[in-house]
Symmetry: C2
Subunit: 353 residues, 2 copies
Amino acid sequence: MTLDVQNIACPIPLSDYPTILMAHGGGGRLMHQLIERIFAAAFKLPPDRERHDSAALDIKGISTNRLAFTTDSFVVRPLFFAGGDIGTLAVNGTVNDIAMAGAYPLWLSAGFILEEGLPLQTLWQIACSMSAAAAAAGVTIVTGDTKVVDRGKGDGVYINTAGVGVFEHDCVIGPQSIRPGDAILLSGDIGRHGMAIMAQREGLEFETTIESDCVSLAGAVRRLLDSNVDVHCMRDATRGGLASVLVEIASAIGQTVRIDEQSIPVRDQVAAACEILGLDPMYVANEGCFVAFVPADQAEQAAAILRKDPTCPDARQIGVVDDAAEGVVVLKSRIGSERLIDLLSGEQLPRIC
Amino acid sequence: MTLDVQNIACPIPLSDYPTILMAHGGGGRLMHQLIERIFAAAFKLPPDRERHDSAALDIKGISTNRLAFTTDSFVVRPLFFAGGDIGTLAVNGTVNDIAMAGAYPLWLSAGFILEEGLPLQTLWQIACSMSAAAAAAGVTIVTGDTKVVDRGKGDGVYINTAGVGVFEHDCVIGPQSIRPGDAILLSGDIGRHGMAIMAQREGLEFETTIESDCVSLAGAVRRLLDSNVDVHCMRDATRGGLASVLVEIASAIGQTVRIDEQSIPVRDQVAAACEILGLDPMYVANEGCFVAFVPADQAEQAAAILRKDPTCPDARQIGVVDDAAEGVVVLKSRIGSERLIDLLSGEQLPRIC
């Protein structure tokens, strides 16, 4: 998804001032130049005279009773990693949150908190990544904001995106629609995003680089919704990984969730990196992987539909919602024993998104 | 607008861990506790099982063709100041951006970037301020996100809000609707927000404290739109102050804007503080003050309508849009001379919002 802009020159001549200054956040000439030359250029915003404090979203002709609205801030370290950067993450993270609710993402906002001293070329690269990721996900970045904080009071750049999408159906897709007996599908292999970040931070080297799975899931979700599958709930397995998402859902619905470790795909190098760092892939963050709860008799059909999407070639059933009203997650391990999965109380991988 | 919560105990017992830990951003148990006990409590969010990655906004029965969508990040120092705090600012700033487009603000998102070590009591106070400001502005905080950055990599808390509003009319309220001859109204006295922050930072003391004008302008705008005034454009005079807003608009429309310094109200203590610090109040930020462009023959009526609103008792005409197509701002000074107003190239007041 990342546009290769390493060699595309930043539209502000770096000979003028190669880095972000406090004045870039001050509402004066430099801020206007930054908005025009970097953000308006990368995001293809309308001309200045048609822009305003708010973007106007045209919903004429869109038949809907409900909108989806969500937000996420991104503070990942490092800013660039194998398979993406903070910009691709900021677009796909919010796109996926809207898709998981069963809505179609259409519009994004982008709020930047820049640290004094950030190279302009870095900001330009990130803006170009966001532009490419937005195009791939079918969304438009329509409004934004820039603030600058003093050197040392940030980490280069923090990005917030908020997103608006439309529901084209009246189904409630969420934990409250999950029923005992539902099948639990997983869209792909787990742990790639978190381990891509950690491998980079820790300087781990493997035969091939572990790349983040960061991608828009909006297309895969649309396939599922456009078919006749009754999707009860979807959730992407981001911070806290697959384990945390399942525990949250089990706890919210008060039903027991049973999953089979053997059915959960983990790529060899991800497993190896987890082994080295002493991490459990079940708790490692993903940015392109989700669980879906569907009626048991539609599980095979739903998995087959997902596998047709390029982002979900390994989609499969990994478990079921049990009759027992205990609100816990039970994992059947590879050797056949059963154990309870819980939320981590501490922090396994700080700042992976 | 600030709720006095100094004495309302934080719902998480401070004896457990009195400050934000990295784990509060990790997707595990502590993050869930933070969301439930602080944010869900302050913002009165629905129960866990009905919450999802995205909020669903019910627009059934709302007759509209267009939505307004905007975002702002807030990095103000200090977090608390006379007349408000980063929380009131984060709500009113986004509410006002929507109001300025001529839409009615309804829903907000809130994204928090917390610094490790932030006292939980501080976060609770800010969340309560946001809740009170949202109630006063008639908006609901419906979705949010929390990230934690390492000690030293933030400044306590940065907040992003995005907002969605609805247009209940088909008028285009923006620079492109401004016509030569339009009257320019100002809703109130200028410079209070910026000088409240600066007086606090610099330890200036006056007989009475300068308080920020931070307030929702949604009610005042609604009065104007509900009357029969043809509002052509509105903009709040935030970063860069009244001068920057007028320069931006003049430049965008390519017409000359003429204003009369004598008609622009500045409170005595704001003027005194500006004098001491060598600042021009025309460039000092406001958070509860806006300009409106209306047809000349409706100027008196529009100002009178605004003055009925408790947030705009001093509303008045301060200038006109000239026939000349020069795209500049000409200020007639108190002594009768004329001078051009321009954008500041540097930074007068860093981090005032």
